[in-house]
Symmetry: C2
Subunit: 229 residues, 2 copies
DNA sequence: GGTTGTATAATTGTATACAATAATACAAAC
DNA sequence: GTTTGTATTATTGTATACAATTATACAACC
């Protein structure tokens, strides 16, 4: 029951109009509705979303900071998007960062948080058996988010949450491959055990392996499918 | 002469009014002018900086995304700042990320970029001998920025640039301790050699050690001085 | 004294107006 | 046919107006 209110950036600003606009455009970029090179015209976005320019502009400025668009003075914002190489790089970086997160989480996690983690894995197991990929991915994300939180490190949490969101589509693709879902579940169960055994070395090692496997699985994808990202 | 126009986020948006406002407030937070818990009143910032609310609001939204302020709907933005623990965490994360950056840079760096790197180290040596800490830190930053660029990885570049900016004040403190400047110079020279020898293993190892040393140096600081951060 | 209610002020949220800049179209010149 | 110049349009930059929300002050009440 504990930290159900502490959620990631993306969810947190869903209350404000500006926040929703930001999330919308960000997903539109990540999902390829706006492709690299496209220019984001403020008035067009206004009409499309039924809001004024102010929240649109604020959202664009945030996207600019994130590097998802490049904004040229007096000319406007052109979409940068994230490339296949960016995603590969993110996975390589995550190999070490997720490991660190698991270590720190193991050192600092509370009993309540362990319960939540267990709960997430159980639900993931349930939906893995049901073969419900959407729900399954939801609890996969939740598992990782809980570890970020448990690490009690704001910089780490922030960096990993952003990265995790960026590679969401890649994960989507990855979960489609036969057997992958079951492997992910097994790996999560092993990591959970290491954490609840309070074994940081093991937790870090297993998590590193886990992300490495995800990375390998992604790279082995059909290049044409990957292009769709 | 090459990539002198490719600079980090913070410098890039100094053209636009909004960009200057953002940089200003960000530094005011990092330098402690606005302390954690303070609330940023838009109209007050307007008067202070002589601009209208629009650029102020856009800047605040960016700070919100960065996590430097927390914005509560209809109530406004309160300063979060970064804690001593955040800085410690950033250093621990940088130990591995800077290592990766150095490895990737070594694998991908161009001859032009090596020249620039050499140039930066030479200027750093010059100002180390002159004991000009401000200039010295400028070329210390440049050295790292050039490595980020040379890594050719947008996600890595982005993450490390942000972190590097956040710990600027901490570095300031660190460079004040006797002998540190000379050690930093020696370490940079060794890293430069490894990179121009195209030895990724060595470059990564030396860079990891370099950040570790910086981290140790920081932690050994007088806790009272650290509190001033 | 403390609490509650209400009027006022302060502040943010959103939309829009106007100015400045850049893009476009099209005619005139060569 | 290509280029140049100019008028028009589109778009962004900045400021401001108005609405909605929240904070504050202060009196009335218990």
């Amino acid at each position: 029951m504990a930290a159900n209110n502490i959620i990631n950036d993306t969810d947190a600003n869903l209350n404000s109009l500006q926040g929703r606009v930001f999330t919308q455009i960000q997903n539109d970029i990540l999902n390829g509705k706006y492709e690299p090179g496209d220019s984001l015209i403020e008035t067009r976005l206004c009409e499309e979303m039924g809001v004024s320019r102010t929240p649109i502009r604020e959202a664009i400025r945030q996207l600019e900071l994130e590097g998802l668009v490049q904004s040229i003075p007096n000319k406007g914002a052109i979409v940068n998007g994230i490339s296949t190489k960016d995603i590969d790089d993110i996975y390589k970086i995550r190999i070490v960062l997720e490991g660190i997160a698991a270590r720190w989480a193991t050192e600092k996690i509370t009993d309540d948080e362990i319960s939540e983690l267990k709960n997430a894995v159980e639900l993931q197991e349930f939906y893995t058996q049901k073969n419900d990929i959407e729900q399954l991915m939801k609890y996969d994300s939740r598992f990782h988010d809980l570890i970020y939180e448990a690490s009690k490190s704001k910089p780490l949490m922030h960096t990993l949450s952003t990265f995790h969101h960026y590679v969401q589509r890649a994960r989507n693709l990855s979960f489609g491959t036969p057997g992958r879902a079951l492997n992910v579940l097994k790996e999560h169960e092993a990591i959970l055990k290491a954490i609840s055994d309070r074994n940081p070395d093991e937790a870090e090692k297993l998590t590193t392996e886990h992300v490495k496997n995800a990375s390998i699985n992604l790279i082995m994808q059909n290049p044409e499918k990957r292009k769709q990202l």
